[in-house]
């Protein structure tokens, strides 16, 4: 009987020890909302794949602070109104340890008041000038738009224009009636005015626009040297097709057209893209071969197969991985989840990520802009593979990442 009691005591002690070790292994929960359905779902789902790769890589390497990392996330359906309740639930019900943002300006801004009230560090994914209004000192935005996001965004495009001989003097600005595109167009307007350019067309179009040929014809009638477009994927396709059909004669065409970075759209538009100068964040040019980026993309491309998302993943996924790298490196360095310590560390540190070195400025944007302006060149019809390697999207700006010379006028 005594022996039985002794065995029972030993078992009880072992059980207690096991539960103690399980407590030590309690996962670090990272919460976020993500656009998994609706208009931005293409980007949101691709971002989620990249984030899951980071989570798995991190857990394989022993987790954060010796604890495994777990995600708690909900679909915001690309509806800003759904974002505040999601973050409230994440913080009040799910009790997550850390939060990061959804994808895109429209989905980031609604989360800010909730995150700010809790004084949480808020790494965010591709928000344009969100913190201009909030001025939150724990906001860190991974898109390399620079310290003055609205104007820095298009600065490179205008520097390229002004380097041409003769210099362009007139510009048409057209953008979608939505937050990001309006911000991008606003920045372009300021840059154009600063450089003394004459704005000959400056209009917006509604999101449900079907045919862009009337808009391109109206622009063409003003005979601008430059056409700067702020658009979302379906509109970007419509605008490029209309420009080709109308035979747009501007010398530079492009700017902030979202969608021209996505493989399916690139493949479909094919040679219509040639000469267009558009923003991008990463392209497979030799000047942007950062440590780890190719390994990451290999994992992403394997994971993305059959999921109906961008198969190459050059545009957003590396940054979705990188914003978690920043958070993870900060947690490991300060050895704590203390939000004040994390924010202070992120502010003062230069991080090594798959998108290169990342240093944040006072307002949580990149300390120095790295918006790339790339020109589509020698694009062949109906060929996806051509975009996997270098030579199709040459980096023209900034100079330190430059990989080719501009063709000007764009349809030479």
């Amino acid at each position: 009987m005594k022996l039985m009691m002794a065995i029972a005591r030993v078992l009880a002690i072992l059980a207690l020890m096991a539960s103690g070790s399980a407590l030590a292994q309690k996962p670090i929960k990272i919460g976020f909302s993500m656009a998994l359905t609706g208009g931005l779902a293409g980007a949101g789902k691709a971002a989620l794949i990249a984030m899951e790769i980071w989570r798995d890589d991190t857990n394989k390497a022993g987790g954060l602070l010796g604890r495994p990392v777990e995600f708690v996330y909900y679909d915001d359906a690309t509806q800003p109104a759904k974002v505040p309740p999601i973050y409230t639930k994440l913080l009040e019900v799910d009790k997550v340890d850390l939060v990061v943002s959804s994808y895109g300006t429209n989905e980031i801004a609604p989360a800010m008041p909730i995150v700010m009230r809790k004084k949480l560090v808020f790494p965010s994914l591709f928000g344009l000038a969100v913190n201009d209004e909030f001025k939150y000192d724990r906001y860190f935005q991974i898109m390399p738009s620079g310290p003055e996001p609205k104007t820095d965004w298009s600065k490179g495009f205008f520097e390229l224009a002004m380097a041409q001989n003769p210099k362009p003097t007139t510009i048409a600005i057209v953008s979608a009636d939505a937050e990001f595109a309006l911000n991008a167009a606003g920045g372009a307007r300021k840059n154009a005015q600063r450089l003394g350019m004459k704005i000959v067309y400056d209009k917006t179009y509604p999101p449900a626009t079907t045919d862009f040929t009337p808009i391109v014809r109206a622009i063409e009638a003003t005979n601008p040297d430059i056409v700067y477009v702020g658009s979302y994927p379906p509109d970007s396709v419509g605008m490029v097709k209309a420009a080709n059909e109308v035979g747009l004669k501007a010398k530079m065409f492009g700017g902030s057209m979202v969608g021209l970075q996505f493989a399916a759209i690139q493949k479909n538009l094919g040679p219509m893209l040639n000469g267009i100068i558009n923003y991008d964040f990463w392209v497979p040019e030799p000047t942007l071969d950062f440590p780890g980026v190719k390994e990451f993309l290999a994992k992403y491309q394997a994971a993305a197969k059959g999921k109906g998302v961008d198969p190459l993943g050059h545009y957003l996924p590396p940054y979705a991985y990188a914003y978690l790298q920043v958070l993870g490196q900060a947690v490991q360095a300060v050895k704590s989840l203390d939000q004040a310590k994390l924010a202070a560390y992120i502010h003062k540190t230069t991080f090594d990520t798959v998108v290169g070195k990342v240093k944040f400025g006072r307002n949580g944007e990149w300390a120095k802009s790295r918006v790339l302006f790339v020109q589509f060149r020698d694009v062949q019809p109906d060929n996806l593979e051509q975009f996997a390697g270098p030579g199709k999207r040459l980096v023209l700006h900034p100079k330190e990442w430059k990989s080719g010379e501009i063709v000007y006028p764009y349809k030479k």
Partner: protein, 290 residues
């Protein structure tokens, strides 16, 4: 800047755009206009048509419009099946007004979610030799990407118009909305007539979907953008009038492109819907309503 070239191009672009709107709205002119069924899921079926065109075009290289025509009979059968469910669950018990609307809302979400689960959320596009090509007629440029939908729309509208006005079933469809009892007395079964008409309406979405994906990229939720516009066209045309629907679509297309060209595109929906309100104020039954 008011130039004659620009004006002529805007009118032509408006006519072509209106043709496309008519192709999308024709099915709704039957369901909503004639059968009095508020099929809010109509644009979602159009998106299904786009996906079918995309899948077959990608794998077999067939022309998207041809695909739309070939799969239309399958859509017809799907339409009949949906109407049977709708009839059994709501119409027979007289609950079609609110519950029926909820049914079609639900159907729309189910279609979207299934498309997302099966095909993901990436933008889908098709290839056809004429996409990107333009015919120049003097100062007017006509993109094939818009011309093809217009030609298909005018053919489809004429076919539906002739069918409804010249055949027994067609006239029965027109009659079922007006006087169900009288139709029964003539020896026709109103439920069978309505299910046939609903099938026909859904069959048109297969072709409309193939036209949509010729014009631009498609993702599962893009159909929502067209809900307001297609209902407006049907109402403006005069509920149930096929020719009225076509003219209303042309008016909306022309107004949109004229405003987009000369005032700015952001004004286009406001002016177009303003015109709708004005028309309804002056003619509550629409342009061609009785």
């Amino acid at each position: 800047v008011l130039s004659l070239d620009l004006f002529a191009n805007a009118i032509v672009a408006g006519v072509l755009l209106g043709g496309f709107y008519a192709a999308v709205a024709i099915g709704l002119a039957i369901t909503f206009g004639q059968l009095d069924i508020v099929n809010i899921a109509h644009p979602a079926f159009v998106i299904v048509g786009s996906y079918v065109a995309y899948i077959v075009n990608t794998h077999f290289g067939l022309d998207p419009v041809l695909i739309g025509v070939l799969v239309a009979p399958v859509f017809f059968l799907v339409g009949i099946a949906i109407y049977r469910i709708y009839y059994a669950a709501f119409e027979r018990t007289g609950q079609e007004s609110l519950s029926g609307l909820a049914f079609f809302f639900g159907l729309m979400f189910i279609i979207e979610v299934v498309l997302i689960l099966v095909y993901g959320v990436d933008y889908r596009l098709v290839n056809a030799g004429y996409i990107g090509e333009t015919i120049e007629l003097g100062v007017v440029g006509i993109p094939f990407r818009m011309l093809v939908p217009f030609v298909v729309a005018i053919t489809g509208t004429t076919a539906v118009y002739v069918y409804l006005s010249r055949t027994f079933t067609g006239r029965a469809i027109l009659a079922v909305a007006q006087d169900r009892l009288a139709l029964q007395l003539m020896g026709a079964n109103p439920v069978r007539i309505k299910q046939f008409a609903f099938g026909l309406a859904i069959a048109t979405t297969a072709i409309a979907g193939s036209l949509l994906i010729i014009i631009g990229p498609v993702e599962p939720s893009v159909g929502r953008l067209y809900i307001g516009r297609v209902f407006a066209i049907v109402v403006l045309g005069g509920m149930g009038s096929i020719s009225g629907m076509f003219i209303a679509a042309l008016i909306l297309g022309i107004v949109e492109t004229l405003v987009a060209t000369f005032m700015g595109p952001s004004w286009a929906p406001a002016v177009a819907f303003g015109l709708l309100l004005l028309t309804l104020a002056l003619r509550p039954s629409g342009l061609f309503g009785r």
